[in-house]
Symmetry: C2
Subunit: 81 residues, 2 copies
Amino acid sequence: MKLVKVYVTLKPSVLDAQGEAIKSAIQTMDYDKVSAVHMGKYFELNFEDYPDLEKDIDAICDNLLTNPNIETYRYEILEAE
Amino acid sequence: MKLVKVYVTLKPSVLDAQGEAIKSAIQTMDYDKVSAVHMGKYFELNFEDYPDLEKDIDAICDNLLTNPNIETYRYEILEAE
């Protein structure tokens, strides 16, 4: 079994309105040392192990988990028991 | 400067409806080796470094980034240039 952790973030050129709102909220809470906040999505997928897993993860990320126009992703494949 | 990466996930006892929907979608795409999907949130926060940073990150996570009734979080603090 494999555990795949996928991190999806907005491309740097795309305005991260949620991140900006969270940064303002943190500053309102008097934590003024924050200089930037970015918000993204996080997925954990459990898979049976097989040879083409990495290729299929790429396809799943491109076609389902992300919007390739505005988001990028990275992932790591770990052993799961 | 510090880069704080925060990972927010639902507690195991809470039904992850989004994760279930994504699992079904992946299976519909003929990737039948997937056995579980969990969806969460991912935040990147840039902070000036200061002694109480970790305590403040805990407070920010508890009070703003998560709903402690249904979510848990973990974070890592990295060096940023």
